[in-house]
């Protein structure tokens, strides 16, 4: 509810903000505003003229950060981009100064300062955290042709001597610069991602990385995320040799160092006590095998409520779970709390487990060459298992042996499966000296499958009675489970009715029965319905109907004629068998030709067969985990176009 209230309040407060008198823009912004910008496609909303961050590292490790930014609004969609926002942590930083300016085409300037700065919580979902954000928005005043710029000075006590700089967002960017001014004798190194190596220019102990004239990055469905398209650098900096920073910040030379650092935060919190031991024994009382014990504990932990309360993040507590005993007592926690509690419960039944830090959002985000905990935003668990335990989510660790990977936060993915956004990702197993970055397992398309069976009775007047059963496993089951769990029963019912009636006019849905067998990683949906006029009767002699009676629940995409980015497909499979009992007195006059498509990224087949007054239609789609280069876009687009056409193809019956 805080989201709604926050939006309402901000709107009300902003509408009450004061008007302005004539102001003047600083020289740097006037210079930026005078830059002639290249011509872009007309849907590009704005161009970044200048994006700069100057970071000065003090001897004690504290940072002074000056952000300088200017943007030219190119069309009305760009108005929303006239906004400055700075996130800060109340216990480790502060925004010292924040000003913005809006320059109109006639040269008049509006200045924004303290009176127009909104200071608000950064995440309304958490019960408590210390992140806040200061915002100046000129979006109500901005319009095409105007230049918006801001300068923010903030101070921060960092946890790490590391930083990241993303040279651009989706917008074209004329100048992007990151400058790091270190104390005398300190040094810095960097890694470049999504771009050829960007070498810094140096002056004494000041390093500057800079790129110019970056083209816009267009949003396209199923494309890599912006973080894997836009150039970015990752930076480490170090005190001069033989000395150490008086601050507590640090950097890492390798992943083992990161592991050791994280282990010190995690391990003390996983201590067991009588309550934990008792709970673990209670949960595993009926478990006969190692896997059953893990499943019992995993099921319990993943069903605890997700609630995040972060205090002391600036002191590293954002990386430290709450004590397992505390999480068990309150029965809620965030991802690291859940992973930690699961470790403790497993430890109580003599099973060893390790926390795993991972990036949730894009399996290709984490880069091996830069050892840094800031690459991760999520925590899962790796359970050491014996040869007795078999599961598709087991990986081999060079030192720790067989590890079963499990996300104790995702309520919809049981032990033995892994959320698709984590599959294939590099993640850090936090295990002291033995910790290492390893690749998470991936599951084949057949493990993420929907099987549908439909039985249809078609009458001579075109009416039908139909039953549909969908059985999903793996990540498809997780999708369906999530859909079912997140909505009330009534809303779910309406959603299914809407899905059926979209394709079957006037359908009366008499049964919607979902069955969630999470332990078996299976979700089944049974639907029954009737419709008075599914098939169209023509001139009392022909009857026409589509055997693909209801659509798949996800749409087939990629209809755009051109493409700029690769296409990323997730592995999954779909099979359907429709049996249509044909009405007496009719013969099949025409059936669509069967379709067979085979490509490196997927396959699709349809078949039609008539036997004993029954039409049997099948369709099978398999998509493999693939990144398809943009040069092959036509191939993937045609693949989906042919599927769409095939599924619209009708069957024609004629009266005998």
């Amino acid at each position: 509810m805080l989201h709604r209230i926050l939006g309402f309040i901000v709107l009300t407060l902003l509408s009450a903000s004061a008007a302005f008198a004539g102001d003047e823009a600083p020289a740097w912004l006037q210079t930026d505003a005078a830059i002639k910008v290249p011509a872009y496609e007309r849907d590009v909303p704005a161009v970044v003229l200048h994006d700069e961050q100057n970071v000065t590292v003090n001897e004690d490790g504290r940072l002074t950060i000056v952000k300088t930014f200017a943007i030219r609004i190119l069309n009305r969609e760009g108005r929303a981009l006239a906004e400055a926002a700075e996130i800060y942590l109340t216990d480790a930083g502060k925004v010292k100064d924040m000003h913005a300016w809006l320059i109109r085409p006639n040269g008049s300037v509006k200045k924004y300062g303290k009176d127009e700065t909104i200071d608000q919580i950064e995440d309304a979902n958490d019960v408590y955290n210390e992140y806040r954000v200061k915002v100046i928005s000129a979006s109500n005043e901005a319009d095409a042709g105007m230049v918006f710029g801001y300068q923010i000075t903030s101070e921060e006590r960092p946890l790490f001597n590391q930083d990241i700089w993303l040279f651009q967002s989706h917008l074209p960017t004329l100048l992007s610069r990151y400058t790091l001014a270190l104390p005398q004798g300190w040094r810095a190194s960097s890694f470049t991602f999504n771009h050829s190596k960007v070498e810094p220019s140096t002056s004494g102990s000041t390093y500057t990385w800079e790129l110019h004239d970056l083209a816009p990055i267009e949003y396209e469905p199923a494309s890599p995320r912006i973080i894997n398209l836009a150039p970015r650098i990752a930076i480490n900096y170090f005190p001069s040799e033989g000395t150490s920073s008086s601050g507590s910040a640090r950097s890492f030379d390798n992943w083992a160092e990161v592991s050791r650092w994280a282990t010190a935060l995690h391990d003390p919190q996983a201590a067991t006590d009588d309550q934990i031991t008792a709970k673990a024994r209670e949960l595993t009382a009926n478990a006969k095998t190692e896997l059953e014990k893990i499943q019992a504990i995993g099921h319990f932990v993943q069903n605890l409520q997700y609630i995040s309360i972060d205090i002391g993040v600036g002191r590293g507590n954002g990386y430290r779970p709450h004590a397992a005993s505390q999480v068990l007592a309150k029965a809620y926690g965030d991802c690291k709390d859940k992973a930690n509690l699961m470790r403790a419960l497993l430890k109580a039944v003599n099973i060893t487990a390790y926390p795993v830090t991972i990036y949730l959002g894009d399996p290709t985000y984490v880069r091996e060459e830069w050892a840094s905990p800031t690459q991760f935003n999520h925590c899962i668990v790796a359970v050491h298992v014996s040869d007795e335990t078999q599961s598709p989510t087991i990986v081999q660790h060079p030192k720790l042996g067989r590890l079963l990977i499990f996300d104790a936060t995702d309520e919809s993915t049981p032990v033995g499966d892994l959320p698709d956004l984590e599959q294939g990702s590099l993640a850090l197993v936090v295990a002291g000296d033995d910790g290492a970055l390893i690749r998470m397992p991936t599951t084949p398309p057949e493990s993420n499958k929907v099987e549908r069976e439909a039985n249809v009775n078609l009458a001579a007047d075109g009416s039908i009675t139909a039953t549909v059963r969908e059985r999903a496993v793996g990540q498809k089951a997780a999708d369906f489970r999530r859909e079912f769990r997140k909505q009330s029963r009534a809303t779910y019912q309406k959603m299914i009715e809407g899905w059926v009636t979209h394709d079957v006019n006037g359908a009366q849905v008499s049964k919607v029965e979902p069955t969630d067998d999470a332990a078996a990683d299976r979700f089944t949906l049974d639907v029954e319905f009737t419709a008075n006029s599914y098939a169209q009767v023509m001139q009392d002699r022909l009857m026409v109907f589509k055997p693909a009676i209801v659509a798949r629940r996800e749409s087939l995409f990629l209809t755009a004629a051109t493409r700029k980015q690769p296409v990323i497909l997730a592995p999954n499979a779909y099979t359907e068998t429709v049996r249509v009992k044909l009405p007496a007195g009719f013969d099949v006059d025409e059936m669509p030709d069967p379709v067979k498509l085979n490509t490196p990224f997927g396959s699709y087949t349809t078949t039609y067969e008539v036997k004993d007054d029954q039409l049997v239609f099948t369709r099978n789609l398999t998509l493999r985990a693939t990144t398809i280069p943009v040069e092959q876009y036509d191939q993937v687009r045609n693949f989906f176009a042919r599927i769409r056409a095939a599924e619209q193809s009708p069957v024609v019956l004629a009266k005998k």
Binding site: M1, L2, I5, L6, I9, V10, T12, L13, L14, S17, A19, F20, R42, N75, R76, K110, D115, D119, Q120, I121, A124, V127, N140, E141, D143, A144, Q305, I307, I309, A329, K330, A331, Y332, E411, K486, Q487, A490, Q493, K494, G498, T501, H502, N505, G506, S533, Q536, M538, L542, V544, S555, T559, E590, P592, D593, A641, R644, A645, S649, P650, V652
Partner: protein, 660 residues
Amino acid sequence: MKLPRSPFLISLSLFCFIALSVAPALAQDWRPVDPADLALKAPVVEKDADAEAIFWEVRIDDSKPEELSLKNYIRIKVFNERGRESQSKVDLPYLGYNQIKDIAARVIKPDGTIVELNKDDVFERTIVKLSGVKVKAKSFALPNVEPGAIIEYRWREVVPGGSANHLRLELQREIPIQTVSYYLRPFLGMRYEPFHTGEARFVKDKDGFSKLTMTNLPAFHEEARMPPEDNVRSWVFLFYSEEGKLDPAKYWNDLGKKIYDVAKDEMKVSDEVKSALPAILGDATTPEAKLQRIYDFCRTKIRNVNRDATGLSDDEKKKLRDNKSPANTLKREMGTSSSIDMLFAALAKAAGFDVRLTLSGNRNDMFFDKSLANYYFLGSSFIAVKVGDNWQFYSPAETYTPFGMLGWPEEAQEALVTDSKEPLWVTTPQAGPEKSVERRTGKLTLSDDGTLEGDVSIVYTGHLAAEKKAYNAGDSQTEREDTLRKMIKGRMSTAELSEIKIENITDPLKPFVYSFHVRVPGYAQRTGKRLFLQPAFFQHGGSPLFSTNTRTNDVYFHYAWTEEDDVEINLPAGFSLDNADAPSPFSAGPLSQYNVRIGVSKDGKLLVYNRKFFFGGGLGNNLMQFPASGYDKLKTYFDMLNKEDNHTITLKQGTATASN
């Protein structure tokens, strides 16, 4: 014209929203838990509910001038994981100068174990601050919540100097409630207006409080095309009144006279107004022609600064001074909605008409009922002009509403025509379906692979045009084109649009027009020897209007409308019509009618499809509201429409031409 709310009302509504969206505080101890409630396995009020409030109490004490106190006490039974997730995290937001006190919460687990909320687990945050205004929140997560558990919490909000005047008491919430109670200890003169509370009324209780109780209230569920929320939800409106016994007729009569006195100065006919009139009227001689000239002048020559399309930035709007008179508005050639209506009134007055400011309800918020004696419910104002013996109504502030029509929220509403002596009530007229037309034409060519391609135009008039213009006016050309693309591709995902033209977006006088070239691969389905073609191009891929089997709330349409389609399709060489039978016409009497004609040219190469559908005819001033009990019939009617729109004709390869 929708009346603006005063800043006082805005801040009050913010306060009310915050104060009552969460809720209470009070007794020293928790009340005993009924073992039957703990043992409860299924909801009592609403089948399949995820959680249900056993009771929800708010105790409002407005008896002290120095503060308003709201004590809340809520007990909720959790039935499943969804209920746990939605109920176990509690946020109590409040304005910075208010106070939240005495928070207490606990969980009673299914086995009877009680887990109290630790005081340290209540977190206080400033949610947002700007220019000295702060909104804070106290938040907590209830520990150990699980399906079968009961959670309860209470708190008190204190509003220094606050008043319960214009407070809204919500009786229906997001979860069903077994018993909801409001206790009220007012200052003198408190009154209330109940909505959808059945027989429930405040009755005298202890310690100077009155109590209103309702039982078995289902959760409030929104549905598409339902009446305004205030018309279907259970709630109570509190207000203070100086009068001992409130007589609605007298109240409105007095108000009508007071408003008349104020308005007559606002619509003053000055020399500037008089001298501008002849040029505005031109050669108009009839009353209607004169009024139309004045109406169109106000819409086209005076910029409405409350509209998006003025070209003025927010800063420029803020700098504008209020127009002090119609002459002022005339001179500046811009004004607020209110000053434009007043200029219209002054010009009409100068032209010799009897003119009055008129107030009505606003159907966007609530259906007005004049037995509700409070100006709070009058959401709109416009100008009444006497023509012959009748009052006619105009609001040129509604820039895109054609002459002779009011905005739909003001149609079919009881309206108070102000007067110095005898204000009177009249019902505003409602436009019929012929006034709001969507006229679509397509000249298309079908290829033998099923691709359909050609030129299309869509013309909107009346309320349909007003809504399209208002929606698009503030957008860029790219956004407007995206809106059109989404509209077309939402039905036909493979459609490719080009040569898009969008006309008259901000022109108050002309219809709103889309025209574009379209190509739809796979539009018709090809089998070995046939092509199957849906001639209703503008309905292709559309879903039935109503998709669910059941309905809780009445169905309500804002206004009547008509659809007229003329589609011509050039058929591919080598194919001829195997059948071209047309869908059968059907109707619902004067309310609605559907007619389709399908024909083919003599040479068999051109298919001609004409469709006409209207809905909302013959209603007079009755609202288009259909009871939920009759939902099946209404759904069946629109299902039939969808079915006939999906009618398919067959083209056969290499056969003789058939024609209708």
